[in-house]
């Protein structure tokens, strides 16, 4: 705390010159009254006017003192030398809506002084209004009132004595205001214990005070730091998720944090003073003595996992650490306990262990070097092992499992730690191959990988059976069709000589129906093979213009209703399966005719640039609403419109076409509006193209096989 130097020379007490503003800091009331009494009696004795603006108690005390000193106050009052006002009432006159009003101040107080001094007489005032304001905590108003007194002092001559109890200045936070207050006064009278000393003693006292002030400042800083640390520790204890509690050696709980309330269900109020054994379930009752025996030895009990009971009777799994608490003398007086509720954690662990152990999917855990750490029963069964220790540990580098694991770890490292499910084959202990689906994911912070292995031999067998069935079914269906078609051929030849047009026409229609049936059976076979990625594609050079010409001519032969008109040419060749590409064209032409019953033309437009060929098949029929544009290429999808006639079909033609086009690295899409016809677009990359996206054509093999 710094005390600013006085602006004017320090006055000698009892010898106060006029036009001064004195402040007295006092320790007790009696001393204050003595000083003020002297201030007033000195004035009255030399014929100065004295005004007292004080509390009723102080007024009475002062009047009594002055009377004892032999002053005739009644006469002085009558002659206008002694005026007494109530501090609170006067203050009230200066306020407008609780605020000091300067104009009022100058009017009331200025007028009072004017009247008292009558122009010549010096005036002494003892005022307590600022002290009242300060005591009420209205320190800003008090300072403002001091300012107003000073402003008035510029205009009128008077000596003002005001006072504050020094105790009210003790708060360090008031330092700035205290300094300001001191600056408002021309004279500062220190409190009594200082006032009574001799000059030498005062210097010593002053030096001592300075030293004390410094020591206090250091002490305060220390205490603040300690207090902050304590607050921080308390906050940590309160905010931790672990229960923190303490107990004495008898086991009586002495402190209990918020987490303890939460975990055990008791409030601090309920449990403090209760025995800690309240938390022990009956089967753990003996634990208390064992723990306390160790605590009395000065030992810590660390991470002891046990069971405790909540207030509602629920049993918890907790991990507790219990440490002895010592007093300043180093004697063990109790114990602190930190308890973590691990109930859920243990539950999750047990669950995941169960999930691992009893899963139908084979699961393994390996480190990133490819060492198997754990396997579950399902994986052992799958691989034909009986005991996990036959597999655990570093694998022989040449075993199929080891190379699979190495491959998976490599893949995981290339793709942010996860290997998507993929089909492969694993060899069993006794050499038999098992088709499996494997997936793996690596857990970075533990440097381990968890793999999942699913035996798919049944699915594979089923796929094969399905395939064999469809193959057989299509064969069985086609055999009678072949005979039917054959006998029709014979019949036609036998009847040809009779020149009965109607009969021949009927036979032709029957033959066409058999062809349609054949196409449907072939489509079913194709869609089944497409699903299992077994559609076989040849790879050959296909002259686009020739292929289109051939397909259009073939289609035109059986079409009387529509004229198929070819525009432009590609003069280009693509790479692929001529029959399959022909199948796509036939499908598009068929659809164009089928879905434009009112029209008579189908336009086939051919074009090409440096990189690709572009085919368009345009009809002028019913069209397809945009929301169906993508779906028409899905399997078994048919546009169903209740207002329209239905068109027969299986909804697989476009799906097959789309698949064929994709496998050739091309694109197939539709542009259409309902009622405005449809245009199907086909784009294929041109020859020579070695690395066409999306299509790898294998010789007489399956192209871009995609299991489903």
């Amino acid at each position: 705390m710094t005390i600013p130097p006085n602006r004017k020379s320090t006055p000698q007490q009892g010898d106060v010159p006029a036009h001064t503003h004195i402040v007295q800091f006092s320790e007790d009331d009696t001393f204050l009254m003595t000083t003020v009494g002297k201030f007033l009696s000195d004035g009255l004795r030399v014929g100065e006017v004295c005004i007292v603006v004080a509390t009723p108690a102080h007024r009475a005390s002062l009047e009594q003192r002055l009377t004892v000193e032999g002053l005739d106050l009644t006469a002085a009052q009558t002659d206008g030398f002694f005026m007494v006002l109530d501090a609170r009432e006067t203050l009230a006159r200066l306020l407008v809506q609780e605020q000091l009003e300067p104009a009022r101040f100058f009017e009331v107080i200025g007028h009072l002084i004017e009247r008292a001094g009558q122009g010549q007489r010096p005036v002494r005032i003892f005022g307590e209004m600022v002290a009242l304001l300060w005591a009420e905590g209205k320190r800003t108003s008090a300072l403002r009132l001091e300012e107003l007194w000073n402003e008035l002092g510029q205009r009128q001559a008077f000596s003002l004595f005001c006072t504050y109890p020094i105790q009210d200045m003790a708060d360090q936070a008031l330092e700035a205001e205290f300094t300001q207050l001191c600056q408002q006064h021309s004279h500062i009278l220190p409190s009594e214990s200082y006032t009574h000393l001799s000059e030498q003693e005062r210097l010593r006292a002053f030096t001592l005070l300075q030293q004390k002030a410094l020591a206090l400042e250091v002490e305060i800083a220390c205490r603040h730091a300690v207090q902050e640390r304590l607050l921080m520790l308390a906050a940590i204890v309160e905010s931790t998720d672990d229960a923190v509690l303490s107990k004495n050696l008898a086991g009586t709980i002495t402190s209990w944090n918020r987490a303890a309330e939460h975990i055990y269900g008791y409030t601090a109020q309920e449990i403090i003073g209760q025995p800690v054994t309240l938390l022990f379930p009956p089967d753990r009752a003996g634990e208390f003595e064992q723990i306390m025996a160790r605590i009395r030895q000065g030992e810590r009990v660390e991470h002891h996992e046990t069971r405790r009971m909540r207030k509602d009777g629920t049993i918890l799994t907790v991990s507790v650490t219990i440490s002895p608490v010592k007093n300043e003398a180093g004697e063990i007086i109790g114990a602190s306990t930190i308890a973590r509720d691990v109930t859920n954690q243990r539950l999750v662990e047990a669950k995941s262990q169960q999930l691992f152990a009893s899963n139908l999917v084979g699961i393994f855990v390996a480190d990133v070097e490819g060492t198997l750490l754990e396997t579950n029963q399902a994986l052992l069964d799958l691989l034909g092992y009986t005991r996990a220790d036959e597999l655990i540990g570093p694998l022989q580098p040449d075993t199929p499992l080891a190379s699979l694991l190495r491959d998976l770890i490599f893949q995981a490292s290339q793709s942010s730690g996860t290997v998507e499910p993929q089909e492969t084959v694993l060899q069993q202990k006794h050499g038999k191959d098992v088709p499996v689906l494997v997936a793996m994911t690596c857990i970075e912070h533990t440097s381990t990988c968890i793999g999942f292995v699913l035996n798919i031999s049944e699915r594979k067998a089923l796929e094969q059976r399905k395939d064999a069935f469809i193959g057989m079914a299509s064969h069985e269906l086609k055999t009678p069709l072949t005979s039917l078609k054959g006998f029709l051929g014979v019949l036609r030849r036998l009847l040809a000589s009779q020149e009965n047009e109607k009969i021949l026409h009927a036979l032709t229609r029957m033959d066409a129906q058999i062809d349609k049936l054949t196409t449907l059976i072939n489509d079913l076979l194709d869609i089944s093979r497409m699903q299992t990625g077994q559609l076989v594609y040849r790879e050959e050079r296909v002259e686009v213009d020739d292929l289109v010409q051939e397909m259009v001519e073939s289609m035109q032969e059986t079409t009387q209703t529509h004229h198929l008109q070819v525009e432009g040419q590609t003069q280009a060749a693509v790479f692929g399966d001529q029959d399959r590409l022909g199948q796509v064209l036939m499908n598009l032409l068929n659809n164009a005719i089928k879905y434009s019953p009112q029209a008579d033309t189908v336009l086939i437009h051919l074009a090409s640039d440096e990189t690709q060929v572009h085919l368009r098949v345009q009809d002028f029929g019913v069209g397809i609403a945009p929301e169906h544009h993508d779906k028409v290429f899905e399997r078994f999808y048919q546009v169903i419109d209740p207002e329209e006639r239905t068109y027969p079909g299986l909804g697989i033609g476009l799906a097959i076409s789309h698949d064929i086009v994709m496998r050739h690295g091309g694109r197939l899409w539709v542009e259409s509006q309902k009622g405005e016809g449809s245009t199907f677009h086909l784009r294929f990359p041109l020859l020579p193209q070695k690395n066409r996206p999306g299509a790898e054509i294998q010789k007489e093999g399956t192209m871009g096989s995609k299991p489903c």
Partner: protein, 125 residues
Amino acid sequence: MLKRSDSQKAILVIDDDPDILDFLHDLLELEGYQVAVTPKGDYLEKMEQGDLPDLILLDVFLSGRDGREIVKHLKGQKETQHIPVIMFSAHPHAEATARAAGANDFLAKPFSMDDLLTKVHAFLL
């Protein structure tokens, strides 16, 4: 046993479906060929040298016998390797293996009669 006049060409049809044998027999006879049909794959092997047909129509999958084995055998014998063999199957993908086994041509069942006769005529010109 094939009995034919000198100008008549003889065709042997081997298929395990009797209906197919029936219509092929009638159809080819109507076209003026001497026709023999059999469901048995080993029929040919029992034939006398002089009775050999001018063309063989052969199913790929016969009951108890793979037509591709038969064509392989025929094409491996000096006496029979000149005889053209047209194979047919309800498995369209059998074409590649049929040709690889030595078949001169292939037809996917069900086939059009015109296609069949065109191919037959072409070999028997």
